[in-house]
């Protein structure tokens, strides 16, 4: 079997996920044994026509982005979206919560027409996505897991349980015990609960678990002293495209 040809592309994002791959120092050489990197603008000049696997970082937010993503999809056998921006719209999508005009004008004033922008969307809003690697930034072990699975020709496991599960497996002190709040109970795991492990609350960077009890989550935050509006804002940091967050009715006292 010849080595899979893989490529990386970046859209609207902080490029932290790209950088995270360059931070694979210890594994980089073994990785190069496993695959051929044929395109990676942030690190190399080469380009290619087709790819076995295309990894997409960043969200789609301009007409140019849309054209590019269609083009990449056409040439890629497998397409993986990488990181919260690509999977969920990420923090970028918070801008959708405000009227587009206000946003443009706020930054560029009367020059706003120079730089067209559209509502921020995840990659899956435009093209078929085969696998998703969440996280802000994506976790390198998970990236390697998906890559190895693809090399072996099997579906990678993608977790759909709460961060609390991993947090408990690590026996981290629960930040709730320290009087903080946490989105871990409704946020998707896969990060090995790094934030609580480092004493910080979970911001829900991987989005919510599917089938999440959002009303319950709002109630949970209220229990920790937040207003209902503040609670929804907290849940929206990474999941602003999740309409249920504004809709779910919370009957919690």
């Amino acid at each position: 079997m010849s080595k899979p040809r893989i490529a990386f592309f970046d859209f609207t994002s902080c490029e932290g996920c790209q950088l995270n791959k360059l931070n694979l120092e210890n594994d980089l050489l073994s990785l190069l044994e496993l695959v051929d990197i044929v395109e990676f603008r942030e690190a190399m000049d080469d380009t290619a026509d087709t790819y076995d696997v295309a990894f997409i970082e960043g969200s789609i937010s301009t007409p140019t982005c849309v054209k590019r993503i269609y083009d990449i999809r056409r040439r890629a056998k497998v397409l993986v979206s990488l990181g919260s921006c690509a999977v969920l719209g990420g923090v970028n999508a918070m801008k959708n919560l405000h009227p587009a005009d206000w946003v443009q004008e706020a930054v560029y004033g009367e020059d706003k027409y120079l730089f067209p922008s559209m509502p921020v969307q995840p990659v899956s809003a435009y093209v078929k996505v085969d696998y998703e690697i969440r996280g802000c930034p994506m976790s390198t072990p998970e990236f390697l897991h998906v890559l190895k699975s693809i090399v072996l020709g099997r579906k990678p496991e993608i977790f759909d349980h709460a961060v609390c599960v991993e947090c408990k497996l690590h026996e981290n002190e629960c930040v709730l015990d320290k009087g903080m709040f946490c989105l871990g109970p409704v946020s998707r795991a896969g990060c090995e609960a790094v934030c609580p492990e480092n004493g910080q609350y979970c911001t829900g960077c991987r989005g919510l678990v599917s089938n999440a009890n959002i009303a319950g989550a709002v109630g949970m935050l209220k229990r920790h002293g937040f207003s209902e509006q503040e609670a929804r804002k907290k849940l929206q940091m990474y999941s602003s495209l999740n309409k249920l967050i504004n809709e779910a009715e919370c009957r919690h006292a």
Binding site: E15, L22, E42, Q104, V107, N198
Partner: protein, 435 residues
């Protein structure tokens, strides 16, 4: 002599973010020589609007993955000033070490992985794995070591976790810190020595081009300023950080979704070379030796030498963090709860040096501790006008070389600034109407 030239480098590689180089000469007249910033703007102000002070650094960190630590530090310092949150000496030392680590890692990444292939005439670092394995391995080790500083102290090098307003959510163990320090002393010093020797042998690959400009950085009486200081212009002297708007004078140009800046001249430069020019006397001795070995002496007006200045800083940061760790370890690391009870509300302005230059964050908070006004000025934005000016001087000087050679030199020029484009288009500058 060539009369016409058209260069259009679409999505310049080996830089962070999306930019195009456009040069256009007609009948011997240079019509255009500019770096077009085509990155999609991200509108961070919309993300910050109404956000609580506890979340602001988490969000601004996402402006840029490469400079995430720098953004967090600037953000936390601005928030702390606005809310009157005092931080301890221990916190300041830890943040300084983190700043050293981030500068060390980013400069290494740029100099050795993104810029170095130019000197060795290849398109990326990957072919070097076969031709220069020992160099690549040493570079990888250095980068890992730099990232480990971030991992050990802030939980994660990209989008650090433990840095919060008022301090740290968790502190490194003394054992871990000792191990890390030992590695810096042995592994780190050995590898940087080796790398410097290699780069010194390639010195003739650096184009000779000079254009004197204004150099702006932080400066401090205590140390080679990275974490903190006052603004310093090589032309006009020092200014308090609060006066930053008078220095940056941002303006919008049509070819860039990032704003440009100018102060005393038509443009100014920030970054490693600016810091070196302004503060070189405060480098640690070993860094001074490295500068000498690599042929860098102040003042240096060759922007291509920015990459060399970055390596000098790597040496400095290794030495500096070893020294700071000594201080921490001799005092003993004490558990402290972060101070997060605001003493006031209002405006806070802070500056810090990130690898690419001086970074400003400016916030105003309401009485709920939520953001009402935010502004954030990023180094690459400040460099853009200077890059355009460099190109305008450079193109006529090399106009008789082949088009490929010109293109290559222009690419190298832009790259040597280590531009961080995604950063530059995420600026905030907005006043919110209070709800």
């Amino acid at each position: 002599m060539r009369k016409d030239l058209n260069i259009d480098v679409h999505h310049l590689t080996r830089v962070e973010g999306h930019g195009n180089i456009v040069v256009n000469m007609k009948n011997g007249v240079l019509q255009k020589a500019e770096l077009d910033i085509v990155e999609a703007p991200r509108f961070f102000e919309a993300m910050l609007k109404g956000r609580n002070f506890m979340e602001v650094a988490i969000i601004t960190s996402r402006i840029c993955g490469i400079c995430s630590l720098g953004h967090q530090i600037a953000s936390l310092k601005a928030t702390e000033k606005a809310l009157g949150l005092e931080v301890s000496g221990q916190t300041k030392i830890l943040r300084r070490i983190l700043t050293d680590g981030a500068t060390f890692q980013s400069n290494t990444l740029h100099a050795l992985f993104l810029a170095a292939p130019d000197f060795l005439e290849v398109g990326s670092v990957f072919p070097l794995v076969n031709t220069h394995k020992d160099v690549v391995l040493a570079a990888l080790r250095l980068k890992r070591l730099a990232n480990d500083i971030g991992d050990v102290i802030s939980g994660r090098a990209i989008h650090p976790i433990r840095c919060v307003p008022g301090g740290f959510t968790m502190l490194p163990g003394e054992k871990e810190l000792k191990v890390l320090q030992e590695r810096l002393k042995t592994e780190g010093m050995t590898d940087i020595r080796f790398i410097v020797d290699v780069i010194a042998s390639l010195a003739d690959k650096i184009p000779s081009f000079n254009r004197e400009t204004e150099y702006i950085s932080l400066t401090s009486e205590e140390e080679y300023a990275l974490y903190d200081g006052v603004i310093c212009s090589s032309d006009t002297g020092t200014y308090p950080v609060e006066k930053y708007l008078e220095i940056t004078n941002e303006f919008v140009v049509a070819h860039s979704s990032s704003k440009h800046a100018r102060f005393n001249r038509s443009s100014y430069m920030v970054g490693a070379l600016a810091r070196f020019n302004n503060n070189h006397q405060q480098l640690h001795p070993f860094a001074g030796e490295v500068a000498k070995k690599l042929g860098l002496s102040a003042p240096c007006f060759n922007p291509y030498m920015n990459t060399v200045a970055q390596l000098v800083e790597v040496a400095h940061c290794i030495e500096n963090s070893i020294m700071l760790m000594d201080r921490l370890l001799s005092d003993g690391i004490r558990f402290e709860k972060p101070n997060q009870t605001p003493a006031q509300y209002g405006r806070g302005i802070a500056a810090t040096e990130v690898p690419r230059g001086i970074l400003f964050h400016d916030y105003t908070y309401n009485r709920q501790g939520n953001i009402v006004k935010a502004n954030c000025i990023i180094p690459t934005g400040q460099n853009l006008e200077n890059i355009d000016d460099d190109m305008k001087k450079l193109v006529p000087e090399i106009i008789d070389e082949s088009k490929e050679e010109i293109t290559h030199k222009l690419e190298m020029l832009v790259r040597s600034y280590d531009p961080c484009i995604s950063c530059s288009v995420h600026m905030l500058d907005v006043e919110f109407i209070e709800e």
